[in-house]
Subunit: 245 residues, 2 copies
């Protein structure tokens, strides 16, 4: 039986073996939730990059550019990091180059893995179904907050473990803790998260609506995976998602 | 109101400011539980060192030497890392030089802090009382398991937060998660921990008895603090502990 483990921060990633594993990269507030939304709105592919300057160069290649720093849309880019900014048809058929504080890092640091899937509550079941088919050992890589543990990514990890618990071994401490926390919180994730100073800081940036949106489970049948140098939606690229419907 | 925060691994310690803070170093299974026990059994002071070879040199200085690697007593040392090994009068009035896999590291990496206290369930209330008097911001530094998150140190952090919650601000995600996990687990800590592969690995080393012992709350009125280059018991050095009785 394959196993599922959880890494709470990119700062801990060097302690984990990535080769041959399926990594689920997660940054619930808001990078991976926004990427999932972009694909649901028809984006062709997404290029996650580490630096603002690199991201800016993609405009000349005909791409949309998206950037966020410290929770706010960066100056001079087409898009920010709010999923609602991707819903007016502007991303359909387009390539989006995106750089975010924590989420991009979690993806790019996981490139040694056999597969990288982008996870969010919004596409939780699509991710769970894909992992169950793959039958690889899974490592959930939480983006965290500036390298530190955060609750919302941990709760996503717990939700994924709950859905996979009959088909995966889970006995590492971080995996168990994620599951327990999710089981404590799931009746009202938003109230649970509102105790967090980090989430309250995001709320002060007036993204209440985003937070509620990003906590919705299974809104989209979307499966962003890393191919060569970018993310593509496996549900569009293959018949895989339709097979599981 | 001072704050209390939790760092889940020495690998994350560079993300935290230590200056002016009180650090609580914790390695429940078993370094800090054993250090607390050694003081309760009359040890004069404890020198935590990083390497086996350095530890060995303390024998020539008339010290007892204690060493553990991967859960087992290391060859050629007087003592291991089981609290029961310290209960036959051998440590009374002696200096003990000790090196352990994770716990020593958590202490030595925290030297920039204003105060370092060694915490365990065994001296939980003594630590809580001391921190309440100090009125400094607190950082609990979990030793973890080879750099990774572990449950038992996190549960200790949660127990400490529970006892200090009326007098300290706690709103960081790691602090909240520790408290929730402790509240879920506290009715039966041992059963809770037995789901952990890391704890089961320790159990296979036949230290069942140690694990049960280390989970007892408030057995000792002992307060190991870092002074210059070693740990001393503040309850012996001052009238502080007696004042709180």
């Amino acid at each position: 039986m394959p196993s599922i483990d959880v890494c709470y921060s990119p700062e801990l990633l060097h302690l984990y073996e990535l080769q041959g594993k399926a990594v689920v990269a997660v940054d619930i507030l808001r990078a991976t939730s926004t990427m999932v939304t972009a694909f649901a709105q028809g984006a062709r592919d997404i290029v996650p990059v580490m630096e603002l300057e690199e991201c800016r160069t993609y405009a000349a290649k005909g791409c949309l550019t998206a950037a966020e720093r410290d929770g706010v849309k960066a100056e001079g880019f087409d898009l920010g990091n709010s999923p609602f900014g991707y819903m007016q048809g502007q991303v359909e058929g387009r390539t989006v180059a995106i750089t975010t504080t924590n989420g991009t890092r979690a993806i790019r640091m996981s490139e040694a893995a056999a597969e990288i899937v982008v996870g969010a509550f919004l596409n939780l079941q699509a991710v769970a179904d894909h992992l169950a088919r793959l039958q690889l050992d899974v490592l959930v890589v939480c983006a965290g907050w500036k390298g530190k543990f955060n609750l919302e990514d941990t709760l996503f990890a717990g939700a994924l473990v709950e859905r996979l618990q009959d088909r995966f071994a889970f006995e590492n401490d971080a995996t168990l803790a994620s599951l327990y926390l999710y089981q404590t919180a799931k009746a009202d994730l938003l109230s649970f998260l509102r105790q967090s100073s980090h989430v309250r800081r995001l709320e002060r940036l007036e993204i209440h609506k985003d937070i509620g949106f990003c906590l919705q489970h299974d809104l989209y049948q979307v499966l962003p995976v890393w191919k060569h140098d970018r993310l593509v939606d496996l549900c569009v690229m293959s018949s895989e998602c339709r097979m599981s419907d």
